[in-house]
């Protein structure tokens, strides 16, 4: 089994991990970038690119060729820098086909059907469930791991998996399941798909929310560590218990501050809406969230 090289970049504002993944043996030095971040000042409604530029600088320093720009799901807490990175570095932006359900749910709410293709053609490629592909010279596979959202997916690359919000580090738990289409039942089942992987498989999480004052941000725990130590989903926890607790904890929870601009932009790979008189806009539906 291949062991990909992984470089993580942590964005403290949104607690997001972005990963650059590559193979030590690939002569063409191809890489994948997973779950990038476009900085967004919510109050000024202004974007900036410092987080993405740090990733791009690294890719350039390493003389990598960007092969894939992958999304684990349509993020609700940060805007993806996928389009910005593609513009600077090339590569194919890809996501699971299940994001079509997200588009179908949200574009009527935002009234963005005009500039958000319903067929997902803003993306370069939509993966099927269990589709196998390659990153550089490494075999890779996508598996559907819904729960946090109906479109959450996991990328398996050798002995490393990139899970988005399917599960977090053991002391943090797992992604909330109260977004439209989210399901605590599905979240539990998805965790068991991950636990079926070999114990030494490295699980790279989409976010880290380090418990206050206990440690700094980290990105990885093994399957074995998750099985024994995950505070919500360890092997001793039954499905009914998890679902009851997850629903109770999610009840009345505040929405992520960036959910409205994030969803709109991320359904277009991080681009904002069609310009009107040279200006782009974010729509804020009233009394909906």
């Amino acid at each position: 089994m291949s062991a990909p090289n992984v470089r993580g970049f942590f964005d403290p504002v949104t607690a997001t991990w972005t990963y650059v993944v590559w193979s030590a043996t690939d002569a063409q030095r191809r890489c994948a970038i997973i779950d990038s971040v476009l900085d967004f000042d919510m109050y000024a409604c202004r974007t900036s690119t410092a987080s993405a530029d740090a990733v791009i600088d690294f890719v350039r320093q390493q003389n990598f060729v960007v092969e894939w720009i992958l999304e684990t799901h349509i993020h609700a807490d940060h805007i993806t820098a996928a389009s910005y990175i593609k513009e600077k570095m090339g590569g194919k932006i890809a996501i699971s086909k299940h994001m079509l359900d997200i588009i179908a749910t949200w574009t009527p709410i935002f009234q963005t059907q005009e500039d958000t293709p319903a067929d997902g053609s803003a993306f370069d490629y939509l993966f099927d469930n269990d589709e196998e592909f390659t990153i550089a010279d490494m075999p890779a596979k996508i598996i559907h791991t819904p729960g946090h959202t109906p479109a959450d997916t996991t990328y398996i690359v050798g002995n490393a998996v990139f899970v988005g919000d399917t599960i977090f580090l053991p002391d943090v738990g797992s992604g909330r399941c109260d977004f439209p289409g989210g399901s605590a039942d599905d979240s539990y089942d998805s965790s068991r798909k991950l636990f079926a992987l070999p114990n030494d498989t490295r699980i790279y999480v989409g976010h880290d929310y380090p418990p206050e004052g206990m440690r700094g941000p980290q990105c990885m725990a093994t399957v074995a560590e998750q099985k024994t130590g995950n505070v919500r989903l360890n092997q001793q926890v039954g499905k009914a218990d998890f679902v009851t607790r997850r629903r109770a904890d999610d009840s009345g929870k505040a929405v992520p501050p960036l959910i409205l601009p994030s969803l709109q932009a991320n359904m277009r790979t991080g681009k904002f809406g069609k310009a009107v008189n040279g200006m782009q806009y974010v729509k804020l539906p009233l009394n909906r969230m």
């Binding site: 970049f9 690294f58 977090f168 053991p170 989409g206 380090p210 418990p211 440690r215 700094g216 560590e225």
Partner: protein, 203 residues
């Protein structure tokens, strides 16, 4: 002999773009809980530092710029040597540690005392407490049991002078290994903790 490592002043560090760097705080979990940089830093106590594990869990590479940080700089030197010995190539000690960083204007956060409800004193206070208690004990034993015990008091006193001159304290390193100073920390990079995370996220 200690491996030679790079060092940087806190003032110079302020001018650096740290987006691609990793700061490793090598103090004890208790010290970390009390006061730490607001900038994200990996907690990896020097007494059980496993450089490879820290890098793996922090998404870093052997070539990633790593800055080691402690209270005053001494433990950071030891940690930096461990990283270099493990094959890491861009290791820098932050001179003067957290105290210098605060002086240089780095924002810090912390609770004063851990939120876990513990009442353990700081490592510095523990050292003073243990050194003072041992000195008093040896003096009393020297007075009432056997004069040879006074050598124990002399040893503790000399140790304190040595610590003051070199900023290296064996007693502190010993105490850092005590169970009450490891609360919330397992493994080389302290991956498992406890407590509560902020809301309004995807958690």
């Amino acid at each position: 002999m200690m491996t030679a490592v790079k060092s940087i002043s806190a003032q110079s560090l302020r001018q650096k773009d740290l987006k691609q760097a990793l700061i490793v705080d090598v103090r004890t979990p208790m010290e970390f809980a009390e006061k730490r940089l607001a900038h994200p830093a990996t907690l990896a106590p020097v007494t059980e530092l496993d450089p490879q594990m820290v890098a793996l869990r922090s998404g870093a590479l052997p070539s990633t710029p790593i800055y080691t940080l402690c209270a005053s700089g001494r433990r950071a030197q030891t940690a930096a040597a461990k990283f270099i010995e493990a094959g890491f190539t861009d290791i820098t000690v932050i001179e003067g540690g957290l105290a210098a960083c605060k002086e240089a204007g780095f924002p810090t956060v912390g609770q004063g005392l851990p939120k876990t409800g513990e009442t353990s004193p700081t490592l510095d206070r523990q050292v003073r407490l243990v050194a003072g208690a041992l000195t008093a004990l040896f003096v009393l034993l020297g007075l009432f049991a056997h004069k040879a015990f006074l050598l124990g008091a002399l040893f503790i006193g000399c140790g304190q002078v040595f610590s003051g001159l070199t900023n290296w304290c064996g007693l502190a390193l010993l105490l850092a290994r005590a169970p009450w100073n490891k609360k919330g920390c397992t493994g080389g990079a302290c991956p498992i903790g406890g407590g509560k995370s902020p809301g309004a996220s995807c958690q």
